[in-house]
């Protein structure tokens, strides 16, 4: 090889090395979704995973401090927390100046600044009937004049975006004034919800029906590549205003370590996020072990493989530098009884407020093998819910203990006392001699089949006959909303981290919406209405305690569990912990380049 060829060959090698180094230097976080997204237009989506991408792309007015627990609101695109009027009906937001949307052809080559008008427009969209927004409830009945505009659109078939709304004012380019019909102490939480992020009107006008696949926001990332139901690739938004990592670690030693490494860094540190849709647990688990993904927190079915019984990472994984983050999800499951006297004109054996009915509900609740639910179905990856408000949510009381114990012997005695006598077949009859059959409704999934078996065993232990009614999920929802489910196991995950989001589940007027037990108690409702006027604090806590005891006395629910989320991370992931409310934490993360290269 002559000298000229040697130089050329060396140059080629150097260039190749340079390209490889550049590729390695890119900090791309690889994560998975266990269900396919439905799109990225904030008013159209109804699934958690789409919400995660939306959170990364759009800017909400408010957001959460990443490490503060319980979750704490902080300004995001707003300069500061809003000015709230004394009557708690008027919220005034001042936007930061100089926030720009990511570049898009819809802006015709101009830089497009985020303004208060964009928020007013984005909130209006929830009421446009053509979008049939699943999250319209966030604003329904709240903003002066907005429901009326939506109602008018339903009649005329056209939503007038230019019509003034008394409750949505933008006195200048950067000021948004929202006027509420009623005082609402939780309204700030609504404006931190990812789906309330600002969209630009010209983008929606440009893409129309295609808007779910053309998201354009002012957030930290933009959508770079999208293969529906398969791959979502986000890249750092060059127009992003930037954010300095500044969070409150509190006394948590792990959080302190995160803060030490991250404090003062300019975000986002990642160059992009690559999301793969992987429905199957085996695929996710093997992909993580092979290093094809960086964070995986949807592995509870195989959690015994990587965790010891006391919730620690198995040594073989710890040796590899894998990190484990455990958090309790802000959710509850509960065994719900239908409290109505009749279901579809037929007497409901578990409904009503008579002593016998309360005794029956109480007996069923006392016979239910909740420990088995946690041990077998949840594979020990859940904690018992003692209080309707789960940990991490304002209003949660860790000292509160449920007054409904597991005690099948006492449950049998209770049924005997109230006249539910056993027949020759070993099953009980109603006090009036009618057969007693409890109809338990569930969906035809593998997980629900496990619940069916557990429920059957529990009810058999007190001699109560049970029929299982199977309904596909949409039908199940319909039956619930129409108060036609006699008994079922339900779940609720926080929309916002305040106890109100959970206590409203038993508010009488919410029957047919979210009160699936169709519980109507004047005592409960009176306290709930009072609680809505109070901020988080001792007075509201006292009301919540009383409401919970009322629920227990009437035995409307047996509280079940809250699941533990075990998030595994590769050694190169820096700064991860699952936030109780934020959908995606990508903005706050970094990747160690040396460990990534390894």
């Amino acid at each position: 090889m002559n000298a000229r060829w040697r130089v050329l060959w060396f140059a080629v090698l150097l260039s190749a090395a340079g390209v490889a180094a550049a590729a390695n230097a890119e900090k791309i976080l690889r994560v998975t979704f266990q269900a396919a997204e439905t799109g990225f237009d904030p008013v159209r989506v109804h699934d958690y995973y789409s919400g995660s991408v939306i959170e990364a792309i759009y800017d909400t007015l408010l957001s959460y401090d990443y490490l503060a627990r319980p979750a704490k609101l902080v300004p995001n695109s707003a300069e500061a927390m809003p000015q709230v009027s004394a009557d708690r009906r008027t919220y005034t937001f001042h936007l930061r100046k100089g926030i720009y949307f990511a570049d898009d052809p819809a802006f015709k080559g101009r830089k497009r600044e985020l303004t208060a008008q964009d928020y007013a427009y984005s909130i209006r969209r929830f009421f446009d009937p053509k979008y049939r927004s699943p999250y319209a409830f966030l604003f329904t009945g709240k903003i002066v004049g907005l429901d009326e505009l939506g109602d008018k659109a339903k009649q005329t078939g056209r939503f007038d975006y230019d019509s003034p709304v008394a409750g949505l004012q933008t006195p200048d380019r950067y000021t948004l004034v929202i006027r509420l019909k009623e005082p609402d102490v939780n309204f700030n939480y609504v404006l931190s919800f990812p789906l309330t992020g600002a969209v630009a009107r010209e983008v929606i006008d440009t893409y129309g029906e295609e808007s779910p696949s053309h998201p354009v926001g002012s957030g930290a990332f933009y959508l770079k590549r999208y293969v529906r139901s398969s791959k979502i690739v986000l890249a750092k938004n060059p127009a992003y205003r930037g954010l300095v990592w500044d969070s409150e670690p509190g006394d948590n030693p792990r959080f302190k370590k995160i803060a030490e490494r991250m404090k003062g860094k300019r975000l986002p540190l990642l160059d992009g996020v690559e999301i793969s849709i992987m429905e199957e647990t085996q695929s996710r688990w093997l992909a993580f072990q092979r290093g094809e993904t960086d964070i995986e927190y949807q592995l509870w079915e195989v959690s015994p493989t990587f965790m010891t019984d006391d919730g620690r990472l198995r040594p073989e994984f710890a040796r590899r530098g894998i990190q484990l983050d455990r958090t309790i999800d802000p959710e509850i499951t509960y065994l719900a009884f239908n409290m109505q006297d009749q279901i579809g004109g037929v007497p409901n054996p578990v409904g009503g407020f008579g002593k016998e009915r309360i005794a029956l509900r109480r007996a069923i609740a006392m016979a239910y093998r909740l420990d088995d639910q946690i041990r077998i179905i949840r594979k020990a990856q859940a904690v018992r819910a003692q209080y309707p408000i789960p940990p991490g949510v304002a209003g949660h009381d860790p000292q509160f203990r449920s007054s409904i114990p597991y005690d099948p012997r006492a449950a049998n005695a209770l049924l005997e006392r109230y006249g539910y006598k056993k027949g020759a077949d070993g099953y009980r009859h109603q006090p009036d001699g009618q057969p007693l059959v409890i109809r338990y409704t569930s969906t035809p999934t593998e997980r629900d089949r496990q619940f069916d078996e557990l429920m059957k065993r529990s009810l058999d232990s007190i001699g109560v006959r049970m029929d299982i009614e199977k309904a596909r999920f949409p039908e199940y929802l319909k039956l619930q909303k129409q108060c036609r489910v006699m008994m079922s196991i339900a779940a609720w995950i926080a929309d916002y981290p305040d106890g109100d989001n959970f206590m409203q589940l038993l508010y009488g007027p919410n029957t047919g919406e979210s009160n699936n037990s169709c519980y109507r108690s004047k005592e409960y409702d009176r306290r709930y209405e009072k609680s809505r006027t109070l901020p988080d604090g001792p007075e509201r806590d006292r009301l919540y305690h009383e409401m919970t005891r009322l629920m227990e006395v009437d035995t409307v629910w047996l509280l079940g569990d809250s699941r533990i989320r075990n998030a595994l991370q590769q050694p190169n992931v820096i700064g991860f912990t699952k936030h109780p409310v934020l959908h995606a934490e990508w903005l706050y993360l970094d990747l160690d380049p040396d460990l990534t290269a390894q």
Binding site: T38, H46, P129, P212, R228, S276, L286, Q289, E475
Partner: protein, 312 residues
């Protein structure tokens, strides 16, 4: 031939009508009301009614059925109820990934199973024949799920020869990197039943008089098998392959889900999970029409392969 083809095409109408009625009945009386799913966590009756009105499921059943028929005639099933994506676009974008897996799968598995079937048919009754048949019986008894789990664990995880799952941009990358293991699984699953079936076809032919005559004329065994036997056994084999095609596209959902392939099968399952009727309607009609067309094509192909076949 033209009269036969026209008559068969005319017969499509009542068959398709039956399929339409069945799908319509199943969706409306078994599938559940999609409005409750789309309405979100907290919704009131007025919101649900608004959604039902927009979806058209508040219309009387005959009207809904007529809309369905018009959609079939126009070939436009509207947009997905859950993602708002045009159904035609769903098919257009998911067809490529499905075919990337299915075409090589079908080609390789057909060639391999035909070769193996011809071999064991030729040595019928020998130890090789028996061993292959036992292997096929065992292979056929194992669920496709087991194949997927084991192959993914061994070849992707343990040996690291393939990625566990994924899908890229370039066709070559998708075919050679991401689809390879899925194709191998598909071949492994289909080999056993295909070898058994094709062996029967070959045995039927081997015992025919024309084979004896060919041997008596002194033709080589290779020529007898590869030219005469293969040509005649090809008719039922082609039929079998063609009949598999329509169902394969929609039915490969397990492979697509486990290996992260954004194909049609996976989309069908998503549509069922989401009660997405426009997509379900389109897929069902597509499978029905494709099956009928393929049946007709197979019959016409008989004639092309074997001129003795009379189409009546």
């Amino acid at each position: 031939m033209l009269a036969y083809t026209l008559r068969r095409l005319w017969q499509f109408v009542p068959t398709l009508g039956g399929v339409v009625l069945l799908v319509f009945f199943l969706f409306n009386f078994v599938g559940g009301d999609p409005a409750y799913l789309l309405a979100g966590k907290i919704s009131n009756p007025a919101q649900i009614e608004n959604i039902r009105r927009q979806l058209g499921v508040d219309e009387p059943y005959p009207v809904q059925l007529w809309i369905f028929v018009k959609q079939i005639l126009r070939g436009d099933f509207g947009a997905s109820w859950s993602t708002n994506e045009r159904v035609a676009d769903i098919f257009a974008t998911r067809l490529g990934p499905s075919l990337t897996v299915l075409v090589p799968l079908l080609l390789i598995s057909t060639l391999l199973s035909m070769a193996a079937a011809m071999l064991v048919a030729y040595v019928r009754g020998s130890l090789t024949d028996r061993a292959v048949m036992i292997g096929c019986t065992v292979g056929q008894s194992i669920s496709i799920l087991v194949y997927i789990l084991v192959f993914q664990y061994v070849f992707a995880y343990q040996l690291g020869w393939f990625p566990v799952q994924g899908w890229g941009v370039a066709f070559a990358e998708n075919l050679l990197r991401y689809s390879a293991l899925a194709i191998i699984v598909g071949i492994a699953v289909s080999l056993a039943p295909d070898i058994r079936l094709y062996r029967t076809f070959f045995l039927d032919e081997i015992n025919q008089d024309y084979v004896r005559t060919a041997r008596a004329k002194g033709l080589s065994e290779g020529r007898v098998m590869w030219v005469h036997v293969l040509r005649n056994a090809a008719i039922p084999i082609v039929t079998n392959i063609l009949l598999q095609l329509p169902g394969l596209l929609a039915g490969a959902f397990l492979i697509e889900r486990f290996f992260g392939i954004p194909g049609i099968g996976r989309e069908v399952i998503l549509a069922v999970e989401r009660s997405d009727f426009p997509v379900i309607k389109a897929v069902t009609v597509y499978v029905a029409v494709a099956t009928m067309v393929v049946n007709l094509a197979a019959d016409l192909l008989y004639r092309a392969i074997d001129p003795r076949v009379q189409l009546k």
